[in-house]
Structure formats: structure tokens, C-alpha cells
């Protein structure tokens, strides 16, 4: 362990020119990510005036206001939705990724492109498409009615929200899992079969543990952005249960309270960072365990 962290064979020492070439990327990150975040962090401690102005100054009142059952409830609901979506996306993503990774090599890139194609359409257009698909005049309800079921429109419903969230984030789940699966030696599957492992055991003991890093990335990449979603719950969920993203929009616009909106944004940001850090720790532990497993074998 120590040896590998101190001396890194094969690593090229960065030259001055190398650092210079990093500058544009650094500038972009500082200007477009770090600076806005600092502005939001600063605003979250500012005093607001009733006309919607930002008076500056320093107060903790914004954070105190957030300790209100109303905000806690919305935060809890959003975290629940994000977690549900992360799990659903990862499960479905696992199945899709496994299917793709086990096709013949020439077919795999085609299937991956097919997964991305819907993303070339605007996000709002795709969300509206779900309204048509699940609405009362749509194919799904028509089919149910043709079968004699007295079906009502599925929009708005929790199911519609869950489905369209899955649809919106599925590719994000498929890619990291596929990447992890590609490096699994296919002969492991044959070996498992030889040793009498069934379908379930092959996945539970071979494929899932070996693609753990991809599964963890998938959970993170779907969980974090779901916390920021605000259009889907309004269009497909009826907007009766706002997500934290809806609340932030309301605070910034209708409530004319930038500082309070900034404070809520900071809380969400911290929750996101905490979950990324948590997942990072889990991943590292998992990797260590895998390595020791490999040694045992």
C-alpha cells in the first residue's frame, strides 16, 4: 500500500506547459462553478428587504426559518423521491447494461447510441410526451379501456412522476454500470455455471460485486440531479407535492426572497456533497474488500 502511494511508476511529471494547458479548464470551473457557489453562499447570510432587494449584511435568520416543519417535510419528500429514483434507475440500468454488455462486440456501440438518442430531444418536449402517453387520450389508457378496465388518466400521479424520472435519468445509470461490466471477464460466467451457480447466484456473487463501482456511480449520478428537478413534479405529478427544487424557485421569484432561497440551496448543496462523500467512502471500502478478495482467490 505504502509503496504504491509514494512511488508512482509510469506517471509523467507535469511540465509548466502542462499546467498552462490546464488554465482554460480551471478558469471555466472557477468562473462558472466556484464563483456562483460563493455568491449563493454569501447571499444565504444576507438580509432581504420586502421589495425583493438584497441588503447584504449578516444574519442567520434565513437558516433559522428553514427549521420549519413545512421545509423539513419538503426536504424529506425530495430526498425520498431522489433515493427512490436512484434505486429504480440503478436496478433498471443494471438490467439494460447487462443486456448490452453481453451482446456481441459490434452491436454494443449501436445499443449504447440507442440509449442516448432520446437525449437529443429537448427535456421539456420529452416530459410533455409522457403527458400524452399516460394521459386519458393516450395509448396506455386506451389499451386498458379496450380490455374493459375503467382506467382514469395517469396524469397526475406518483407513478407518472416515477416513470418519467426513470426515463429522464436512465442513460445516466446505464453508462457507468456498463463501463464496470465491460471489464468483467466473460469466462467468470462460464466458471460460475460450471460450479453449479444458477442465474441468481451468478448475478449476486459475480456480476453485482464486480460492477459495484459502476452501481455506486449510477446511484450518485441519479440521486444528486433528481434533488434539483422541478419541472417533472409539476407537469406529471400535478404539483401538489413540491420538491425542494420547486420551493427554491418559489422563494427566488414569487417570494422575492433571494437570501432565503440561497439558504435552502446551500442546505441542498451540503446534502448533495455529504452523499457524494458518503458514497466515495463506501466505494473505497468496497474496492479494498474486492482487492483482498482477489488476493484470497
Amino acid at each position: 500500500m505504502n509503496a504504491s502511494s509514494s512511488a508512482r511508476p509510469g506517471r509523467i511529471a507535469p511540465s509548466a506547459a502542462g499546467y498552462l494547458m490546464l488554465l482554460p479548464a480551471l478558469a471555466v470551473i472557477v468562473l462558472l462553478v466556484i464563483v456562483p457557489m460563493l455568491v449563493i453562499a454569501r447571499d444565504s447570510f444576507a438580509i432581504s428587504d420586502p421589495l425583493g432587494g438584497n441588503l447584504g449584511g449578516f444574519t442567520l435568520a434565513n437558516y433559522e426559518k428553514l427549521i420549519d416543519p413545512v421545509y423539513l417535510k419538503t426536504l424529506g419528500y425530495s430526498l425520498g423521491m431522489a433515493l427512490l429514483n436512484a434505486v429504480v434507475c440503478t436496478v433498471v440500468g443494471y438490467i439494460v447494461a447487462y443486456y448490452i454488455a453481453t451482446r456481441r462486440a459490434s452491436l454494443q456501440p449501436v445499443l449504447l447510441v440507442l440509449v442516448i438518442i432520446p437525449f437529443l430531444t429537448d427535456f421539456l418536449v420529452r416530459t410533455f410526451a409522457w403527458i400524452t402517453l399516460l394521459g386519458s387520450g393516450g395509448p396506455f389508457i386506451s389499451l386498458l379501456r379496450a380490455l374493459g378496465v375503467d382506467a382514469q388518466s395517469l396524469v397526475p400521479s406518483q407513478l407518472a412522476v416515477t416513470l418519467s424520472l426513470l426515463y429522464a435519468f436512465l442513460p445516466v445509470a446505464v453508462f457507468p454500470i456498463y463501463a464496470a461490466m465491460r471489464s468483467i471477464d466473460p469466462s467468470l460466467k462460464e466458471a460460475a455455471a460450471d460450479l453449479g451457480a444458477g442465474w441468481w447466484q451468478t448475478h449476486a456473487r459475480i456480476f453485482v460485486p464486480l460492477s459495484a463501482s459502476g452501481l455506486a456511480s449510477s446511484v450518485m449520478l441519479t440521486f444528486v440531479p433528481t434533488l434539483g428537478v422541478f419541472v417533472i413534479p409539476v407537469l406529471l405529478g400535478g404539483g401538489k407535492d413540491p420538491l425542494v427544487g420547486n420551493l427554491i424557485v418559489t422563494l427566488f421569484t414569487e417570494f422575492r426572497n433571494e437570501p432565503l432561497g440561497a439558504a435552502l440551496s446551500m442546505v441542498v448543496l451540503i446534502l448533495m456533497l455529504a452523499s457524494v462523500a458518503g458514497a466515495g467512502l463506501l466505494l473505497r471500502n468496497g474496492a479494498r474488500r474486492n482487492r483482498s478478495l482477489g488476493k484470497d482467490a
Binding site: D122, P171, A179
Partner: protein
């Protein structure tokens, strides 16, 4: 394709999804408009027809840039940030009050105006801007009810129908605090412009009670929902989308509730400190002409504030469409929704409770 590339691809997709959600908000690129021969206008999306802009450019030789916004708050925060580069803005009535208070718009020199007499009476010296000192109304509309008679089975007459449990799951309210409170207040027989804490509390209770039968809160596609019957009855703004829904489906009706009516109007104001003041006045005078004002109905399906313009509207069926021009008798008791001032806090507390319940 190695792992890093794939992960990067996934990350890009994830952020693209989130950003795409954001782009549903305002879309306006800033323009530098100092110097002669240009005019930069910041207006509501869909409220200034291209035909009006082209006519103005041809006549004056001034190059016009129009950026659009979809909420007053977006527009105000952009102007408040300073150096917006805009010469003329188009705030709604309560936004005029806010912008005057925040010193963002200039006083209009009435002596430089031509054609001000063309405005309909209710837009002259309005409650939100005494003496039209800071704003010249351009388009107007109402907040009312859009309903599908095939679904309700009977004519709808007022806000009380939006509390009728027979329509459970098919009632939609606008996803906007002050608009929702219009219904909440007027259904209790209270004024929509009240600032009394007790009144607002009563409205909050009504809105909380109503939530049980709501299909949802929606300011985006409620007209489609009413058109297809997925919604029986929805709180609605008059204007393009409601008018189209009424035109396309004979069962869809737009009414002003019997408990009272409310008006909104979007006006042109001159940005404080503009470098193109002359061009801004030319624009105001141009839009006060009846033949220009008629374009807002012909090409944008909105009601014009210009009385003299009404006979000049090419398609008179638009003037008769209640979802564009609400009938005069239904507006007898109507008032403008004005800025609630300090009472905003009561509305906010109530609305937060309603939304999170």
C-alpha cells in the same frame, strides 16, 4: 471507450438534464444598447408582435432588439443588477409599483406623449400607477375560470364551483401565490386586494380545504388539460392559450367568476438612466396609435388597452372571445391585483402552508 470517458459522458448527460430543466425559465440574452439609432426592449414573451417591431423600424430607422422574460421577478432582478442595457421594459401592474419603489423606472413626461387619449378609461390613472406617471398600459387580461362543460355537466358561474367535491381530482389552480389567493379571498366574499391578516388567514383555510379535491397546481398546460377533459375546471389567465382552447373546443368556456373579477395589465415603462430616451418616447407614441395597438390582438391574441384600436382589429371574433376581451358587464366590480406591500408576509406564510400540506 474507457471507463473515464463513459463516466464523463454520463456526467454530461446528468448535467444536461438539469440544465434543460432550467432553460424552461427565462431566455434572454443581454444586449449592449448604448449609442444612437437603437432601442432595446425587455418584454413579456409573446406580447409584442413582430409586425409591430418591423413597422417601427421601417418608419424610424431605429434598430430594435427585443429580449423576453416569463416572470416579472426575473425581469426585475436583471434590472436591479444594473447595466442591463435595456431602454424600455414591460412590467405587470404590481411590478410597476415594485420598480417605482426600487427606483428602476423613469417618470414619463406626459407632454411628450401623443395619442394617450386612445387608452380605455380603466387604464388611465390606474390604482397601481396614479397619473400613469411611470407606465403606459399595452395589453390586458383577466384571471378567471376555464372549464369544460362536457365534464362539469352544467355551466360554471363562480369560484365556489372550484370547491365542489363532485369535481375531485379534476380541479386545477394556478401555481402562483397571488393568483391562487384571488380565488381564496373572493370565494369568501373578501376583496382580492386586501392586506388584512384575518382575511388572508380565512383565504388560507379555504385553499387548504380545497387542496383535498385538487388535481394539482398548474400554470403551464392547464388549457390543454381542460381541452382534453383531464381537468374539468381550472383557474386561468385570459390570453392566447385560453383563447385557443375556447376556439378549438365548443365545450370549453372562459368566465369571470360572479364573486368578482381581477385584471392584469402589462405596461411599457422607460428604464431609469436610459441612453436612448428619445427612441423610448418614439416607441411609446408609436404603440399608442390605434392601428399599432390593434396588432396585439391580431397577432398575439391579447386584449389591447387602446379603445380606439378595437374597431381596427381585423378578426372581430377575437374581440368577442371572452378569453381575450372579457365582457364589460362581467368586469363591473373588477380590480387590479396590486402589490400587497408588508402583507406579502401573510400571503407567504399561508401559501407555504398550503403548498406543503
Amino acid at each position: 471507450m474507457n471507463k473515464k470517458v463513459l463516466a464523463l459522458g454520463a456526467l454530461t448527460l446528468a448535467s444536461a438534464t438539469v440544465l434543460a430543466g432550467c432553460s424552461a425559465g427565462g431566455d434572454a440574452s443581454s444586449t449592449g444598447a448604448a449609442g444612437d439609432g437603437t432601442l432595446s426592449i425587455y418584454a413579456w414573451a409573446g406580447e409584442i408582435p413582430d409586425s409591430a417591431i418591423e413597422g417601427f423600424e421601417k418608419e424610424t430607422g431605429i434598430t430594435v432588439t427585443v429580449d423576453t422574460f416569463d416572470s416579472n421577478e426575473t425581469m426585475i432582478s436583471k434590472l436591479a443588477a444594473g447595466n442591463s442595457g435595456y431602454d424600455v421594459v414591460e412590467p405587470s401592474q404590481y411590478a410597476v409599483q415594485l420598480m417605482v419603489d426600487r427606483d428602476l423606472v423613469a417618470s414619463i413626461d406626459q407632454s411628450k406623449l401623443e395619442g394617450f387619449d386612445n387608452l380605455a378609461e380603466k387604464f388611465v390613472d390606474p390604482s397601481f400607477d396614479p397619473g400613469n406617471e411611470h407606465s403606459i398600459p399595452w395589453a390586458w387580461g383577466t384571471t378567471g375560470i376555464l372549464y369544460n362543460e362536457a365534464c362539469t355537466g352544467a355551466p360554471v358561474t363562480g369560484w365556489k364551483d372550484m370547491w365542489n367535491p363532485a369535481y375531485t381530482g379534476k380541479v386545477y389552480m394556478l401555481d402562483n401565490m397571488l393568483s391562487a389567493y384571488i380565488a381564496g379571498l373572493q370565494v369568501n366574499g373578501l376583496s382580492a386586494t386586501t392586506t388584512d391578516e384575518g382575511d388572508i388567514e380565512k383565504a388560507t383555510d379555504s385553499l387548504l380545504e380545497q387542496k383535498a379535491i385538487l388535481g394539482g397546481y398548474n400554470s403551464t398546460n392547464y388549457a390543454d388539460l381542460v381541452g382534453t377533459g383531464d381537468a374539468c375546471i381550472a383557474e386561468a389567465y385570459s390570453g392566447t392559450t385560453s383563447a385557443t382552447a375556447v376556439e378549438n373546443n365548443p365545450d370549453v368556456k372562459y368566465i369571470i367568476p360572479e364573486e368578482g373579477g381581477t385584471l392584469w395589465t402589462d405596461s411599457f415603462s422607460i428604464v431609469k438612466g436610459t441612453a436612448n430616451e428619445d427612441a423610448a418616447y418614439q416607441w411609446l407614441n408609436y404603440t399608442l396609435r390605434p392601428e399599432v395597438a390593434a396588432l396585439v390582438t391580431d397577432d398575439a391574441s391579447l386584449a389591447s388597452t387602446n379603445e380606439a384600436a378595437l374597431p381596427l382589429v381585423a378578426d372581430q371574433s377575437q374581440v368577442e372571445n371572452p378569453a381575450i376581451y372579457a365582457p364589460a358587464e362581467s368586469l363591473k366590480n373588477s380590480e387590479f391585483i396590486v402589490d400587497p406591500g408588508d402583507a406579502l408576509a401573510f400571503f407567504q406564510d399561508g401559501w407555504t402552508r398550503v403548498r406543503a400540506s
